[in-house]
């Protein structure tokens, strides 16, 4: 073998603006480490200190990430990582998700007697994993970021140690997560084998220049990577783990997972999707059929997500299936993105509004849930509107938004998504999506029926914690604001996607 190529030393040094673009990541890592330390400091009550550090680091990260959106693209670590508008947008999304989940879980953990500070540390680690996923261009580092995020998530799911359901959920999530990561990895290996590079941008470049590289191994590898991601976002044939895990996990964690982890998976999925050349001319060999497969997967995801949610009485499981249905709508966006003028912007917007809605709903659920996540069934909610008018109003807004009824954000993002899908010529898919969402309207409204129209024999009155109330109120405001004036959000997503 000829002499090993020596790595060029200049790559390791960081220029000043590279350094600033790493700001958000440093804040989060610093925050998590500091939190770990303070967790064991004897005389300060761990609970307060860890939470404050976590929130402080998140806010710092958000501030520094905000600069990145406008800043132009800077490559880091020899192209393995990039800090552009796209990754900044997602970073802000993840940081907001983490902050709001922490706000919701402070009082929740107290109520459930689970006040172990590691909760917040793991949360920060997982957020860091997500941020990495949104900004790496290297397949291996995507795998590593995925594992950082997932491992902390496995533990968070199993956080209620002595509860059988929580353990079972964690175990299921772990086994199937590990298997899926292995599948993803094997796909990476095959891609590496056939194109010789890990950087997804290089893979694209090499494949476009030398089409003969697209051997069957390349296609198998590409598909295995896609399947790995489809598992993570819980598209239908690969969704079976999700409802059990969501039901078993503590409620704020379920909220964190439905929004954060799904958004991160989609962020990475979009980058890989582009790199596989889907939609460009080279996809002729695989493209025609890839489109049909994705079309079918999107349809069955939407259909089964909505239909099974119809039969659920447990709210967490119902929202799990509704999240599967939303994955279906996002897949419609993915299919339509290359051919429509708006590109991937609608997906970003949908993910943002979806996060706000679901986080709001889950914060309310974590406020409502009793010891060990009991009384989260439909009939526990009956007559809620009489006892907690404002809480049920907030929940109604989120549900209307999920159902896609105007003046809410859900409607604006769904409209934007279907609008671009029609431009891509997927008319019949949109018609089917619209009909599936009608099924969705039924079970979202059924919850409102229980809250407003049933007699008052649900759970008795209880105090709504201030922190949770604040975060819920903020999310309601955001849902209505995006719903009524969506143009700002659409402009941001369009600008961000333009430089992808």
């Amino acid at each position: 073998m000829e002499a090993l190529k020596i790595v060029d030393p200049s790559l390791l040094g960081l220029t000043s603006e590279q350094y600033s673009s790493l700001g958000p990541y440093l804040w989060v890592v610093g925050g998590s480490l500091l939190a770990m330390i303070f967790a064991v400091v004897p005389f300060i009550p761990a609970r307060i200190s860890v939470v404050c550090i976590a929130i402080a680091s998140l806010i710092g990260a958000v501030v520094s990430a905000a600069h990145q959106i406008t800043a132009d693209r800077t490559d880091l670590f020899a192209g393995m990582m990039v800090s552009d508008g796209y990754s900044a947008f997602f970073n802000i999304l993840f940081l907001a998700t983490a902050a709001l989940s922490i706000l919701a879980s402070v009082r929740y953990l107290e109520k459930q007697k689970l006040e172990y500070p590691e909760y917040y540390v793991l949360m920060l680690f997982s957020t860091f994993g997500m941020m990495l996923m949104a900004s790496t261009l290297d397949l291996i580092s995507i795998f590593i970021a995925l594992e950082i995020m997932s491992l902390s998530a496995y533990v968070l799911v199993g956080f209620r140690r002595n509860d059988r359901r929580s353990n079972e959920a964690a175990m299921k999530y772990f086994i199937l997560g590990a298997a899926a990561s292995a599948i993803l990895l094997y796909g990476t290996a095959l891609l590496y084998g056939s194109t010789g590079s890990f950087l997804i941008t290089d893979i694209l470049a090499r494949v476009t220049t030398k089409p003969e590289l697209m051997t069957p191994a390349y296609h198998l590898g590409g598909w295995l990577v896609i399947v790995g991601f489809l598992f993570k976002v819980a598209a239908v044939p690969f969704h079976m783990w999700m409802p059990d895990v969501y039901e078993g996990a503590p409620t704020p964690i379920t909220g964190f997972m439905t929004t954060g982890i799904k958004a991160a998976s989609f962020a990475a999925f979009v980058r890989v999707f582009i790199s596989l050349g889907y939609g460009k001319d080279i996809e002729a060999a695989i493209g025609g059929r890839l489109h049909d497969v994705l079309w079918v997967i999107a349809l069955i995801t939407m259909f089964f997500g909505n239909v099974i949610a119809l039969t659920q009485t447990n709210l967490k499981r119902m929202l799990a299936y509704s999240s599967i249905a939303n994955t279906g709508y996002l897949l419609v966006g993915m299919i339509a993105a290359p051919h429509s003028e708006a590109g991937y912007a609608p997906i970003l917007m949908y993910l943002a509004t979806y996060t706000v809605m679901n986080l709001g709903a889950f914060s309310i659920l974590s406020v409502l849930s009793g010891k060990g996540d009991t009384n989260l069934n439909l009939h526990d909610l009956s007559g809620l509107a009489r006892r907690h008018p404002w809480l049920s109003f907030a929940f109604a807004v989120f549900l209307f938004s999920m159902a896609g009824i105007p003046p809410t954000a859900g409607f604006a993002s769904k409209y934007y998504l279907f609008y671009s899908a029609i431009q891509a010529g997927e008319i019949w898919l949109v018609v089917l999506a619209v009909l599936c969402s009608v099924i969705g309207v039924y079970y979202y409204l059924r919850v409102i029926v229980y809250m407003y129209m049933r007699e008052n024999e649900g759970l008795e009155k209880f105090a709504v914690p201030a922190l949770a109330a604040f975060s819920i109120a903020m999310m309601v405001a955001m849902t209505l604001q995006i719903g009524i004036l969506p143009s700002k959000m659409i402009a941001v997503t369009k600008k961000v996607v333009a430089k992808l």
Partner: protein, 509 residues
């Protein structure tokens, strides 16, 4: 005040909502007076609209345009013409009556009740004034939420089934309309280079309207489905009786008075001008459906045991007239259809209010529970008789003008079907008079009916404006036609021109 003159329609649309939100601060007991004051104020403001509207002026007046979602070519574009003028006035005219009628009808959660009523009014007026198809869709859906809660919370026994059915039914139709709106906007981009959902822009979009399943026909069917559900047209009407029977009096008055007109208005504003060839192609189908709706509605109404359901099915029959009026595609038929919408918005609410009054006294809507009411409630009997005459279309009342013009217009379009539709005149008399005979006349057998009190002053004030309107619209219809004539001729010309094209196409194929 200056702002008010230039932005009258925006003020008219959002005043009720603002008023309701302001009303939050008021203790529950006074919210009804507050809402009544608000609705009367709104009626006054809408009269300003009447005087400001110049029938021979521009097609859409009091227009306002503000950019809303530039990325998708959606802007907040509102305006009104002769037809929507009268529908807005009908809404603002009915609202004070509705509020006054539910004074002692509603006890629990009064504040939410009146807030929802005002929010409903915002949705309705918004839908009537919006000239941007996306904005129309937003108001069209936003209108459903208050009605959903009104029926669901203050409704009758199985209100949840009724309100859910009402919501999902309308939702299916309107979602398909939304897809059609997207497609239209996309076609506009293909043909004119920029996205736009504004109505005036979409009029310019050229669509292939040749066959029954051409793009224009499919789009027309998507719009027509949403509006046919709302009208409701014969096969899609089953949500109406349930919604009416379970809704509180105020809810069913507004539902019958204004929400059903949304379907008809939708046809006039969107389906007809956007897809003229498809309208001509599907004219016979809708004429048949309309006539069947008339006879079917009348026949099924005849055998209803429950008064409210009877009146609900009578609405199906009356709105069947509107459909054949619209689809007769000539000035007389269309004017008759618009006028019939206004009549129906006066006579059916009157009937519902009175059934509500009986319900408030006896807590039952079953016809067999009543009999010989005239003896104890003579004034009520007079009012009920007048409302029946209007709904039976007796000359001199508003019903006659509507039905006469519609049947005359439909006769020009398709004489055979008009005979079938005209039989509705007989069956209309049959089910109404039979109901009156079983409720009003006959011996006073039921003990409970003996103690019924006649109309209180409040109830008289509620019914009086409707009674006056019935006769005024019957004797002096020109007062109403003057303002809407040019708008209707524009509507008819556009479809007639396209009709000629379609006929030519059909001819040479």
């Amino acid at each position: 005040m200056e702002w008010l003159n230039t932005h009258l329609l925006t003020a008219l649309t959002f005043l009720p909502l603002a008023w309701a939100v302001a009303g939050m601060a008021i203790p529950g007991r006074f919210s009804k007076h507050w809402t009544l004051a608000g609705s009367l104020l709104l009626f006054a403001v809408s009269l300003k609209l009447y005087y400001g509207f110049d029938p021979h002026g521009a097609e859409f007046q009091f227009a306002e345009s503000v950019e809303w979602i530039p990325g998708l070519g959606v802007n907040y574009l509102i305006g009104m013409d002769g037809i929507s003028l009268w529908l807005i006035l009908l809404t603002t005219f009915l609202m004070p009556i509705v509020v006054l009628s539910s004074y002692n009808g509603v006890e629990d959660r009064e504040k939410e009740y009146y807030t929802l009523l005002m929010a409903l009014q915002t949705g309705m007026i918004g839908a009537f004034v919006s000239l941007d198809s996306f904005l129309f869709y937003v108001f069209w859906e936003a209108m459903l939420i208050p009605m959903y809660f009104l029926i669901g919370i203050w409704g009758g026994k199985d209100r949840i089934y009724a309100t859910m059915k009402f919501f999902i039914f309308t939702m299916v139709g309107s979602l398909l309309m939304l897809v059609a709106i997207f497609f239209l906007a996309y076609q506009h981009k293909m043909q004119f280079g920029s996205f736009s959902t504004a109505l005036v822009e979409l009029y310019k979009v050229r669509l292939d309207g040749s066959g029954f399943l051409s793009t224009q026909s499919l789009l027309f069917l998507a719009f027509a489905l949403a509006f046919a559900i709302k009208v409701p047209l014969f096969p899609l009407h089953t949500w109406l009786p349930d919604a009416h029977v379970q809704a509180p009096t105020a809810g069913s008055v507004i539902l019958a008075g204004v929400l059903l007109k949304m379907g008809g208005y939708g046809f006039i504003r969107f389906a007809f001008p956007l897809f003229p060839q498809a309208v001509v192609l599907y004219q016979p189908t809708f004429l048949v459906l309309g006539s069947v709706a008339i006879v079917y509605g009348a026949w099924v109404a005849m055998v209803q045991p429950d008064m409210k359901k009877l009146v609900a099915y009578s609405s199906v029959s009356h709105m069947g007239y509107v459909i054949i009026g619209l689809f007769s595609l000539n000035a007389i038929g269309s004017t008759g259809a618009v006028y019939q919408m206004l009549n129906h918005g006066i006579s059916t609410p009157a009937l519902f209010l009175m059934v509500g009054m009986l319900y408030e006294r006896r807590h039952t809507k079953e016809i067999k529970e009543y009999g010989g009411i005239t003896k104890v409630m003579p004034l009520f009997a007079v009012a009920f008789m007048i409302a029946t005459l209007s709904s039976v279309a007796l000359p001199g009342t508003n019903g006659f003008i509507g039905e006469f013009l519609i049947l005359l217009g439909a006769w020009k379009a398709n004489p055979g079907l008009t005979v079938l539709a005209a039989t509705g005149v007989i069956f209309g008399a049959v089910y109404m008079l039979w109901m009156i005979q079983r409720v009003m006349f006959g011996p006073l057998t039921n003990e409970a009916n003996k103690k019924l009190k006649d109309l209180s002053l409040r109830e008289i004030v509620v019914l009086a404006p409707l009674m006056v309107a019935i006769f005024w619209m019957g004797v002096a219809p020109n007062f109403f036609f003057r303002k809407m004539e040019t708008s209707i001729t524009r509507l008819v010309d556009r479809t007639a021109k396209a009709g000629a094209v379609a006929v030519a196409l059909k001819g040479e194929r």
